[in-house]
Symmetry: C2
């Protein structure tokens, strides 16, 4: 445990919360230039402080190795000059995006002469609770600043020193642009009571963004007293329709599963129309097995290749995050849709088809945040969507959905101009 | 207590909830024509069933008079042929609005050829909890149907029979268009346990809309496990700037307070810039007093007319909903903004000024859902905004804000088309 010992965590969090609320009020009307300048200055500060940041990261890595973290976890935690340059580049790319606040979203006029404008505004204070990846400090801090929101960052204990050093660079940026330092705050303790406090301070935090494993996200979703932008799981399905183009299907299915198996956009279940099971289906199964993917199928899928093992009931709707894929042969597109409704997580699904009517049916009858046609589920990512960066991916239907970029961390207000106009 | 006696309310609500969820899945891809047809047929059914509806209303009125309800409450409850024609007309006007579902909200393309469409979708199941006004049954039912959402209506016990008869007309409309009857359900009991059940069924209800007094809305906001679209109070401020046009100010201030004192958009506090207190301020005070408004002011406001009584601390930030207004003289626009931030409810505020910079400052530094310039706060209404009707007015910053019409009862999904596109 680092940070001040014996701390009164609830008091500390209340203080941080009040400072965030005050900073948010000021940030809400900060100029686009000031926010841009702060982000560019923060990127410079990441470069200037690189020695210090790498040193802090070495300290975290040494502690993590001592704790016996897995290789994948250590890799997520590690920083090097290249990754640091990437973090600075990320801040610059957020800086150069159009300002998401004060955008006119709609205008109209009424017969009585009233002129209406719907204009974007920040949400207020955003709480981000994440695990070991230190780059989230910079991404989340940068996106919240860009969108005029104050942010309270609570990173995992593994990346405590790295996040602290990156946070210092963000504060340098705020100071350089004369913006309140409390606009981006970091919880300066690894005491877990801080997480509990963040879940129960609706007077100071307007939205929570949890990033990490299912147990963290599940806890935040269950206990938070404010809206949560998150996904619990990414159980992505790929449906290969009877009218699929074989070349596209083979390319996309392999990519959707294997490009990166550990991300939420990785495919976890393949549904194959029975009309093409024996032909294209067999090729898909062979491709996947040869790429080293373990396949768990229903009887019809097992019939395609003896190496396909029997899927258990738990394999449907399961997020493997690994080189494992569930495979089922379905009699119709409607059965594929029903399967996704039953087992999906509302994250991302893809259809492979050359039939416009089939694609339209799939798009209309499913309601996942992201639906793709003839493209890999691995595109479920704010950067790939062109949002510059993402603070997370949301599967709820309220407010923000899919990859959440700076533009989605806003609300709106109505500005109405009259000329002494009264209601009859 | 009406409805089946000795009912197992939790079981009843679970059944209603499951039927709503199922209907919502079907309604989500119902055609615009079917929804329009259902609304027009429901309007016809309100006309055809008018005898029955008025009879049911007479039963409610007799019971209400027996309970000693106030005249205002009886007036809200009463139906007559004119009001019924208005309800039918309201349904027709919702029918004729553009369909809010399936609208393309944004399109863009990425360098890799992926084509993105952001398309509006329904939210799912909406729970509406309201008090005595039977017309909410038709307005809320109609708006939810238009936006492709299933709805569970829970009206007050006073309007139980009236709401039941109006609900039957809505179901006639659904049947005429072959849409699921469970798309618009009404809780068939006045047992208060039904409200508690609606607050605790996030698996069946996605959003709650409470309409009624502060205690109802407060309870729903405190206990609901899903997002709530509502306002607890409408504490609307009118600020008369140093650069106000006297004629516009006198017209708007009087209207903002007195047009209808019982609605959430009625002004509750007048702030006058000290530079114009002795001139325009005195005229405003005289106008209001002569119109029968009781004024409660600070010392400077009291100095304008001896009939202004001393405001207590509780009079700032108080929703009078009556012919009473708090009045304060402020030294600057910034002090007016600070007063609103301290005492406002985030609903609606107006500035009277001919100074563009002052209006801009007021618009930028306040974050109420609706901000008006030179126009009455009484325009805070979905009909006046041109939304056809409103299910309520929301003061939260998440998802829906201000008057909530059919278009605001939607979420979105991303539809992405590729050509066998894979992620590198």
């Amino acid at each position: 445990m680092d940070g001040p010992a014996q701390q009164d965590v609830p008091a500390l969090m209340a203080e941080i919360g009040a400072a965030a609320r005050e900073a948010a009020a000021e940030l809400a009307y900060a100029s686009a230039e000031a926010k841009r300048d702060a982000l560019l200055a923060a990127a410079d500060a990441v470069h200037d402080r690189r020695g210090q940041i790498l040193e802090a990261n070495a300290e975290d890595m040494a502690a993590a190795e001592g704790k016996g973290l897995t290789k994948a976890m250590l890799d997520r935690l590690a920083l090097d000059p290249d990754r640091l340059a990437g973090i600075a580049e990320g801040l610059r790319s957020i800086a150069e995006q159009p300002d998401p606040v004060g955008r006119t979203l709609e205008t109209w006029e009424r017969p009585n002469g009233l002129k209406f404008r719907k204009v974007s505004t920040p949400l207020g204070v955003i709480g981000v609770i994440y695990e070991s990846r230190p780059n989230v400090t910079a991404d989340a801090g940068g996106l919240c600043l860009k969108s005029g929101n104050a942010v309270i960052l609570r990173g995992g204990s593994e990346s405590f020193h790295s996040s602290g050093a990156l946070h210092a660079a963000l504060v340098d940026g705020l100071r350089a642009a004369s913006l309140p330092a409390a606009a981006i705050q970091r919880v300066p303790t690894t005491d877990r009571a801080a997480v509990g406090a963040m879940l129960a301070m609706p007077e100071h935090i307007d939205v929570l963004v949890p990033r990490g494993g299912k147990s963290l996200v599940g806890r935040v979703q269950a206990e938070a007293r404010v809206p949560v932008f998150a996904h619990l799981e990414g159980i992505c399905h790929v449906y290969v329709d009877a009218a699929a183009d074989a070349g596209k299907a083979r390319r996309v299915v392999l990519n959707a599963k294997t490009c990166r198996t550990g991300i939420c956009g990785a495919a976890e279940c393949l549904l194959i129309h029975e009309d093409v099971a024996d032909t294209l289906g067999r090729d898909l199964v062979t491709d996947l097995l040869e790429a080293g993917v373990e396949l768990r199928g229903d009887a019809a899928a097992q019939a395609l290749d003896p190496r396909v093992t029997a899927a258990t009931a738990e394999d449907w709707g399961r997020e493997f995050l690994d080189m494992i894929l569930a495979v089922r042969v379905v009699p119709s597109i409607d059965e594929a849709v029903a399967h996704v409704r039953r087992h999906g997580s509302g994250h991302t699904e893809a259809i492979l088809t050359e039939d416009d009517a089939a694609a339209e049916r799939f798009f209309a009858r499913l309601d996942s945040a992201i639906l793709l046609r003839n493209a890999s589920t691995q595109f479920a990512d704010g950067g790939e969507f062109g949002f510059g960066a993402e603070i997370g991916i949301a599967t709820g239907k309220m407010h923000a959905r899919g990859p959440v970029g700076a533009q989605h961390l806003t609300s709106f207000k109505y500005l109405v101009e009259g000329d002494g106009t009264i209601r009859p």
